[in-house]
């Protein structure tokens, strides 16, 4: 296989007494979608937040294109081409679409003022790729539907030529039609060679979209493999019990409360 775009090796993260992520590793290749699965509290969000710069790793290493990198904050991550679409979407509800797409990375005029027309122009361009029907450019995003808000969140990533997109439950708040729209979008991004990590609870989506699946439980790695190597029942078993496809327990997963 080609050189991985991202390698996260033996990552640990604690919050006080809670070991949120314990020795988790994951690789991502260009044009690949990896579905990250696990129960609520399994540590999925915490794990990917260390790639997106929201948290820093306690120990472990992150390599991009084979080079070790330090991701200390969201700006570091963005400079490496890593964009994140959060579960909560993380939009400023009171700002309009262009302001949200460029939030934190505004286009300025030569004398340092916000260049609103330029940002709106770019916003129209990138939204056209995602949602050609979209017209509400002057509304605060609180007036948009769930799917439209999702497009704005994704447009934030596209506008800055992301190479790696992290999606934390991208379809959790959406209706069936909008979910389909996001699915189409993910397929399109994949074709452009973008690597995607997708956290989702919807097994159907995960099997539909991902090339590989990684399962976590209690902050630990359970199993990683090609989507074609497994099926929904097996994956569900791994999510719930931490059992490997062959029926044995993954090392370190079985705890007294599970037994």
């Amino acid at each position: 296989m080609s050189q991985p775009l991202v390698e996260m090796n033996n990552i640990h993260k604690r919050f006080g007494g809670i070991h949120a992520v314990e020795d988790m590793s994951l690789e991502l290749h260009p044009g690949e979608v990896v579905g990250l699965l696990g129960h609520n509290g399994a540590g999925k969000s915490t794990f990917i937040k260390m790639l997106s710069g929201a948290y820093q790793v306690d120990s472990g290493e992150i390599l991009i294109d084979g080079q070790p990198v330090q991701i200390r904050n969201p700006i570091d991550a963005k400079e490496l081409g890593i964009e994140t679409i959060y579960q909560t979407l993380a939009l400023a509800d009171n700002l309009d679409t262009a302001a949200n797409i460029f939030f934190g990375r505004e286009i300025l005029t030569p004398w340092g003022a916000l260049d609103e027309p330029a940002m709106e122009h770019a916003a129209i361009g990138v939204m056209k790729r995602l949602n050609p029907q979209f017209r509400k450019f002057h509304d605060p995003v609180s007036n948009l539907s769930g799917g439209q808000r999702q497009s704005v969140a994704i447009a934030r990533a596209l506008q800055f030529n992301a190479r790696i997109i992290i999606m934390d439950e991208p379809t959790a708040a959406l209706g069936p039609h909008e979910t389909q729209m996001v699915a189409d979008l993910i397929k399109a991004l994949k074709k452009e060679g973008i690597a995607i990590v997708m956290i989702s609870h919807d097994l159907h989506d995960v099997f539909d979209l991902s090339d590989r699946i990684a399962v976590m439980k209690n902050g630990r790695h359970v199993w990683t493999g090609a989507t074609t190597e497994t099926d929904k029942d097996q994956v569900l078993q791994m999510v719930i019990l931490g059992k490997l496809p062959d029926g044995s327990y993954a090392p370190g997963i079985l705890t007294s409360e599970d037994a």
Partner: protein, 407 residues
């Protein structure tokens, strides 16, 4: 699609909304301007033609200046989910500090005393505000608590400077900032300059949008708006020039405190709408987490906003003490509440994220108009306070209804 929408019969409210949208003014702002006009008309009739005399309007504009000036800063504080209760006390402290510098540190009536003391005040104001902002941003102490502390602290600190003595008299050049005015010709120059800047900005925006292939408003509409603003500016200058110096034909022109307010308001509107800092204030107010995840240095934004209102408080202190030609300890009492009320009446939501500087300016004007008018009609100060309270609550109630109907 837009065609059918236009052809459908529409209600009056809907049509009003369309008109206001086409001139890019929100309905709430128009409603407030309507309220000010109604209040002015009422007092004009009730006072038998005194209220709208150049003399009274000149005084009204001076009375509004300090509250309005501080309200421009308070909007940004409240929009970013904070509050500042310390400004009244800080104003007293800074006034006393300025008076102290003028009379005790520098020679009284020295050539440079006035501007050195003003610089000291602005520097100290920004520092004091910045320190409060630092406590809030760095240690996550609620702004309400930190600035409530400020409210108690700064007046006490002012007392230490002078042991409670009122510093007076102040420098004569300095006192121009309180009650001076710039004369008829300069007033026209200021008006024309302001108009030219506005016209240039409008032209730049139009040209920029056109260059990017956007639709622009019809030239006639744009020209009409610019002309209307020009007429307002001219009416303002003419009114200020209409109040003559005693026993002369010379108009006073724009009062210095009002000139300061105009400049500060213009700068603040620019900061709020056209700079990154302003964008981050609004974005942070809308969703603090989103701002953090977008890589915004939210701590710096909060600290800067408090340093800014501290500096504005210093300018307010200059105007207030210069007007009195003294720096008493009691100055600025309850000013914070008046400023917050102006911002809230002007449409700033205490839950953060929404509010405009223009709205707060009109809010300040509305409150001061009521107060001024009631004084003209001989209303006692106790009922005055009660009526103002009613207005404040009515304005917020109106907002609640308005926000509900909009979604």
């Amino acid at each position: 699609m837009e065609r059918t929408a236009a052809e459908r019969p529409v209600s009056v409210g809907e049509r009003l909304r369309q008109v206001s949208q086409s001139v890019q003014m929100d309905t709430r702002l128009l409603a407030m301007i309507g309220a000010v006009v109604a209040i002015w008309a009422f007092f004009e009739i009730a006072s038998g033609g005194i209220f709208l005399s150049p003399r009274n309007l000149w005084n009204l504009s001076v009375q509004t200046s300090v509250t309005a000036l501080l309200a421009t800063g308070m909007v940004l504080i409240i929009v970013s989910r904070n509050i500042d209760l310390s400004i009244g006390s800080l104003l007293a402290f800074l006034g006393i500090l300025g008076g102290f510098v003028q009379t005790e540190v520098l020679p009284l009536e020295g050539t440079h005393s006035w501007w050195i003391s003003i610089l000291v005040m602005i520097g100290a104001g920004a520092l004091a505000g910045g320190m409060q902002g630092w406590l809030i941003a760095r240690f996550a102490i609620p702004a309400f608590v930190v600035t409530l502390g400020g409210l108690m602290f700064w007046r006490g600190a002012g007392w230490l400077f002078t042991q409670g003595r009122t510093v007076t008299p102040l420098d004569t050049t300095y006192s121009v900032f309180g009650g001076g005015s710039i004369g008829e010709s300069w007033s026209w120059v200021v008006g024309a300059t302001g108009f030219a800047l506005l016209a240039l900005l409008t032209a730049w925006k139009r040209q920029r949008r056109k260059a990017l292939g956007f639709q622009v408003k019809p030239a006639s509409v744009e020209l009409a708006i610019v002309a209307a603003v020009g007429a307002l500016i001219a009416a303002f200058v003419a009114t200020m020039n209409g109040y003559d110096f005693p026993r002369t034909e010379d108009g006073r022109g724009i009062p210095v405190p009002v000139l300061i307010l105009i400049v500060v308001a213009a700068v603040m509107i620019y900061v709020a709408n056209m700079t990154r800092f302003g964008r981050y204030i609004y974005g942070y107010g809308g969703n603090p987490e989103a701002a953090q995840l977008a890589g915004v240095n939210t701590r710096r934004v909060v600290i800067t906003s408090f340093a800014l209102i501290g500096a504005l408080t210093a300018i307010g202190a200059v105007i207030s003490t210069a007007r009195l030609n003294a720096a008493p300890l009691s100055i600025g009492n309850l000013l914070e509440l008046q400023v917050i009320a102006a911002a809230v009446i002007g449409g700033t939501s205490l839950s953060g994220g929404t509010g405009t500087i223009l709205g707060a300016l009109i809010g300040a004007l509305l409150m001061q108009s009521l107060q001024n008018g009631m004084v003209l009609l001989g209303v006692q100060s106790a009922p005055q306070q009660m009526i103002m309270a009613g207005v404040l609550i009515f304005a917020v109630w109106f907002d609640v209804i308005y926000q509900k109907r909009r979604v």
